[in-house]
Symmetry: C2
Subunit: 229 residues, 2 copies
């Protein structure tokens, strides 16, 4: 007999794809998840030498092997999150570590957004929506808005970046979309989802909050697996 | 100023598509959600004259207008769950009540299952998988197993029904699937997901637990919308 039912917890290894020497900054997504989802312990690391994160094919290709290596370092965790809307290397980690639950910010955001509406507006920093937005919401992306003057997740941290996000949100509202899916975890870092909701009245899906919902589901699954209730 | 950040809660209206005069039985799914997801208050009702639930086209057609009517009675709730793996009338409710978040047991289960593997095994009671399993996991359902001798959700409540579920699970394991998605909320009612996990070693997605994860996400979304944090 055990009492895991009562003290259920889940150890998550979270991989940031934006390099920083500031561990408090690296921990931002993990903190957001722990503030909102009880019982989840997040340890965060960032991959090295990726000072502008992932924002095009070149920065993506460079990042993939580094993300897989980071995941291998989290082999003792209950779950791995690749905290990026492009879900980089998520498929590769699933292949290499088949017992390890792993997901990313893109596919979880899309899964959430489609529960609100089949007319999805997407706000991102890249020329095209990240892969999961294209493949998992095929035919349901009514509008994609790239934020003006923003080319990497760092630009989102400026006032101009925030204004750019709100301009995109207004255009999505005017186009008659039923939900806004954010397509860069930098928008989670600046915590702008609530503000967009109040400005537009539309539900907004934040990638890090979406990742957390799937982690919380995994915590409950672990609890049932261990107790037989 | 308000303090909703601290006492966040979400009022959910849950619609059962299996008629019962026993409110404790009607409340089973809601209890399961409230036991696992803090801050969620569920009020459950069942639609009338649907004594065998929904298990074919005829019982589905009969149920649809009754589900929409039940949803209209929940207009004051924060969210509506149609607690059935066929997601009956979910699209219709979205159309009629565009401001109301609504989802069902099927599309939430599929969304969860695809985060574990793209080789999904499905266990159900109908001749074909429910709609969301076909449309949202296209090409990723590696095996569908209909439970022997089980034709409606009521048959699942018997010992033979439970044995049948475990036989399906073993065949799915042998076929090399990476995850098991349950396709009838009757399997949530009998609480068999944990047992299947221990028997097969595969992750199992329970429809009512999956619904709850999306409701919990909605609770957090509501909190951010109201507080601006």
């Amino acid at each position: 007999m055990n009492n895991k039912r009562l003290d259920a917890s889940l150890d998550v290894g979270l991989i940031r794809v934006l390099t920083s020497n500031d561990q408090y900054f690296v921990d931002t997504h993990g903190r957001l998840i722990m503030e909102n989802y009880p019982g989840i312990n997040v340890e965060s690391i960032c991959i090295p030498d990726q000072w502008e994160g992932i924002h095009d094919d070149e920065t993506l290709a460079k990042a993939l092997p580094k993300i897989v290596e980071a995941a291998q370092g989290f082999a003792d965790k209950d779950m791995i999150l690749v905290s990026c809307a492009d879900d980089p290397a998520v498929d590769m980690i699933r292949e290499e570590m088949p017992e390890m639950p792993v997901t990313g910010g893109g596919e979880t955001t899309v899964a959430m957004a489609l529960r609100y509406s089949s007319r999805v507006g997407v706000i991102g920093i890249t020329d095209r929506p990240p892969r999961a937005y294209l493949s998992n919401a095929e035919g349901k992306i009514a509008l994609y808005e790239k934020i003006n003057q923003v080319n990497s997740t760092l630009d989102l941290l400026t006032d101009e970046g925030k204004r750019g996000v709100l301009e995109c949100a207004r255009r999505i509202k005017e186009a008659g979309c039923g939900v806004i899916a954010l397509a860069c975890t930098g928008m989670s870092t600046i915590g702008i989802a609530g503000l967009i909701e109040r400005e537009t009245g539309l539900p907004v899906v934040d990638p890090v909050i979406a990742e957390g919902a799937f982690a919380y589901h995994e915590l409950i699954r672990k609890k049932y697996r261990n107790t037989g209730d």
